[in-house]
């Protein structure tokens, strides 16, 4: 240990405000397109209609928590099929791993809601308060009428966007037109208002004020991504072997020894994270691509080749330093890790699709009554009781014929019904108590356990499913 501290370092630092400058270029154009597409998907999806007949809701995408159904266009998921949602989440995770190991933090840079909404909020800020220099001036000056007006206008627009964001979220959980009417006429459920209020507040705060702080301090993903990326990952970087030594004074003596970087600061000025990409790979970089646009603009002006800052793989550095062409993108992307992620991702996907097409719109489960295991009847026969759950996952009422798989010892009766027909309402589950009786002295009555299969078949369509259970006898 060296000499004791005379000036202890600061353990806490105030946030340095970031004023990203406007930039033009291919990445910026792509980001506008992606932003428009993703915001449109988010806001419009709950309003899409999908006809499912008279009984079921006609909202294309609906998470119906009250009735425990999830609708996605032609697909309807019941709670017992929740593995579809689990599978989709696993696919989303693996997909993220795949994209990150192949292309770096593309999720952070282009698709993450925090990035998209912050981008939108910064755009609004620029419309109202002007570009970078004007905003820096406004930040540094004292309060006056103009500053108050600009600030209030900006906050009002932000609040409207935030309200629309929080408002759109609740439409995924209830019929959108109905809920919209209720929200406006103040008749919606308090939970709806609370949800809208919370999401409005978080959107307003995260997009308007917290911005890059969320990515750097609140989000776990930047830390996890380090484990997904390696030297072959295509990511955004500064070609320091081309740019260094950097220098402003091109006409000065010794300028011929300088690299391509003229230290104009454009890449720093446009960065929404407030970092300098020339410091190398860093946790705060969300790879949004704006520094590429900014630098290319400058390189074009000074007549140097583009992509001093650009997408690159760190493993190409040696080749690029030596002036050789880098490996092709495909050679970087196709490596065992990305192939493994792709195989896993596709495997889960294929499994889900197969499961989706193989699933029946009729489902049976059975709960044997285990207290008591069996009941002895007057004539000495042995009866077992079961609760049969019949799920009619079809939007029409159906009648099912309930039978036992052939077993001469056993007979079936249904509580409260004559015969073996059960009618189940559309898109509903019915619990039917059933009784299975083994006549006195038959093998099933005397055996401790007898396997038993129960069938339910749709009288109209002949669709049938079975469920297996056991019959408990009374061993003599």
């Amino acid at each position: 240990m060296t000499a004791p501290d005379t000036h202890p370092p600061r353990l806490y630092a105030p946030r340095e405000p970031v004023f990203p400058r406007r930039v033009k270029g291919s990445f910026r154009t792509m980001k506008w397109g992606l932003m428009a597409a993703m915001l449109a998907i988010y806001y419009v999806t709950p309003w899409l209609r999908w006809d499912r007949g008279p009984v079921l809701p006609d909202q294309a995408v609906l998470v119906d928590l009250a009735n425990r159904r999830f609708y996605f266009f032609m697909i309807e998921i019941w709670p017992h099929e929740f593995y579809f949602v689990a599978g989709l989440l696993i696919m989303a995770g693996l997909g993220l791993f795949l994209f990150t190991s192949a292309l770096g933090r593309v999720w952070c840079g282009y698709a993450c809601p925090q990035t998209v909404w912050t981008d939108l909020f910064i755009t609004v800020e620029r419309w109202i308060e002007g570009d970078r220099n004007a905003r820096v001036r406004l930040w540094n000056q004292g309060w006056d009428a103009r500053k108050a007006r600009l600030r209030l206008t900006k906050w009002a627009v932000w609040l409207l966007i935030a309200l629309a964001t929080g408002g759109a979220w609740v439409f995924y959980f209830a019929d959108a037109p109905t809920l919209m009417r209720e929200l406006v006429t103040l008749q919606a459920h308090p939970v709806a208002y609370t949800t809208v209020a919370i999401l409005t507040a978080t959107t307003f705060f995260f997009g308007g004020f917290a911005r890059e702080q969320i990515c750097i301090y609140a989000c776990p993903w930047p830390r996890i991504q380090a484990a997904m990326m390696d030297e072959d990952t295509i990511t955004i970087g500064y070609r320091d072997w081309r740019g260094e030594p950097r220098g402003k004074h091109r006409k000065a003596e010794g300028a011929e020894r300088l690299g391509d970087c003229i230290d104009c600061g454009a890449c720093v000025a446009v960065c929404p994270m407030g970092i300098d990409i020339r410091n190398g790979q860093q946790l705060a970089c969300i790879t949004c691509g704006l520094c590429i646009d900014a630098c290319n603009e400058v390189m074009d002006k000074i007549g140097k080749p583009r992509d001093l800052i650009g997408y690159l793989a760190l493993s190409d550095e040696a080749a690029e330093r030596a002036g050789k062409p880098p490996k092709s993108v495909w050679k970087h992307v196709f490596r065992p890790r990305t192939i493994l992620y792709t195989v896993l991702w596709a495997g889960v996907g294929i499994g889900l699709v197969v499961a989706l097409f193989l699933r029946s719109d009729l489902d049976l489960t059975i709960s044997p009554i285990r207290n008591p295991l069996y009941v002895t009847l007057s004539d000495g026969s042995i009866r077992n009781d079961y609760d049969l759950r019949i799920r009619n996952m079809n939007n029409s009422e159906r009648t099912f014929f309930v039978t036992l798989e052939r077993n001469p010892s056993l007979t079936l009766t249904l509580e409260g019904r004559q015969g073996q027909l059960v009618t189940v309402a559309p898109d509903a589950m019915l619990i039917q108590r059933i009784y299975v009786t083994a006549a006195a002295g038959t093998p099933a009555a005397r055996a401790e356990r007898t396997p038993l299969r129960i069938w339910a078949s749709d009288v109209a369509s002949r669709t049938r499913v079975s469920v297996d259970t056991v019959f408990n006898g009374r061993p003599q």
Partner: protein
């Protein structure tokens, strides 16, 4: 040593804390100040919370909190809310003829659920949580198709309301089997045991059973019927079937004949509301043996 005086620091290197061990320097990446403020805010929040809600332990109890919140009161309010919701259903149960309850699917679903809850609280102590009874104690199985006092929903309702052999309720149904140990010889009882074994199709001593037939007609048939078919008006069990209240072994039958049995069920008219009695009657009626 302050970071800015660190001679080995290159331009662009992060600030260091100035700590160095064996040449390893510690970077200083300061936390944002707002993080600290949030920490202070949580402390303030916690203090306010302990003022508003029950928190600080005192000698006899915790501070109650100025909002007056208590989990007990919250549960009580919740129970009251459910009772209010259930009230129209209970009223419907009382207003509906017993025999009509099961014909109304919605009412029947409510009756079975409410009846199951009442059963667990008031009946399962004797009849068991699964309503299978306890043979060793003579608590009847309610799931089978054999009924001492009748298995229609009306008769089940009557039994629950007034009880059986219940001295506190004049409307309770009543019967008493004599203790034949004082009336018959041991051999006569033994032959009756064998006769009862015979009519219930169990292994028996044929000679003794034959001798018991006459004794049965003289002593038992008036209540249990000439063939041992029982009599629900008297609560006399059926003897010629496979179901036994106290057990069908020789010892159990011998004990029953010698000392008699005295199964008592309390009246629930004073303990339960009429609607609850109806609900539990509907529940028991639909356990598999209802008539």
């Amino acid at each position: 040593m302050s970071a800015k005086h660190d001679p080995s620091r290159q331009p662009g290197d992060p600030e260091t804390t100035g700590h160095e061990w064996d040449g390893i320097r510690e970077f200083n990446n300061p936390l944002p100040a707002w993080w600290l403020w949030i920490f202070y805010a949580t402390i303030v929040w916690a203090l306010i919370y302990t003022i508003l809600y029950p928190a600080w332990p005192m000698l006899t109890r915790a501070t109650p909190g100025v909002l007056g919140y208590s989990t007990r009161a919250a549960v009580a309010a919740e129970i009251e809310r459910f009772e209010r919701t259930n009230e129209p259903w209970f009223q419907r149960l009382v207003d509906t003829e017993l025999a009509e309850i099961e014909a109304d699917p919605d009412l029947n679903r409510f009756a079975r659920s409410a009846g199951a809850a009442v059963f667990r609280a008031h009946c399962s102590q004797c009849h068991g949580a699964g309503a299978a009874g306890v043979q060793a104690s003579g608590f009847p199985n309610l799931r089978d198709d054999d009924w001492l006092w009748g298995g229609t929903i009306e008769e089940i309702h009557l039994t629950i309301t007034h009880g059986i052999r219940n001295e506190t309720d004049p409307d309770a149904r009543w019967s008493q089997m004599p203790a034949f140990g004082e009336l018959l010889e041991r051999e006569e009882i033994e032959s009756l045991v064998q006769y009862v074994r015979r009519i219930s199709a169990q292994p028996h001593d044929a000679a003794l059973a034959e001798a018991g037939a006459e004794l049965f007609l003289e002593n038992c048939a008036s209540c249990h019927g000439e063939d041992g078919e029982g009599n629900q008006a008297l609560g006399a069990p059926t003897l010629n079937d496979a179901i036994w209240l106290y057990g069908g072994s020789e010892e159990a039958i011998r004990h029953t004949i010698t000392y008699s049995r005295w199964g008592v069920m309390p009246a629930f008219a004073a303990r339960l509301r009429e609607a609850e009695i109806r609900a539990v009657a509907a529940y028991v009626h639909q356990l598999g043996g209802g008539q």
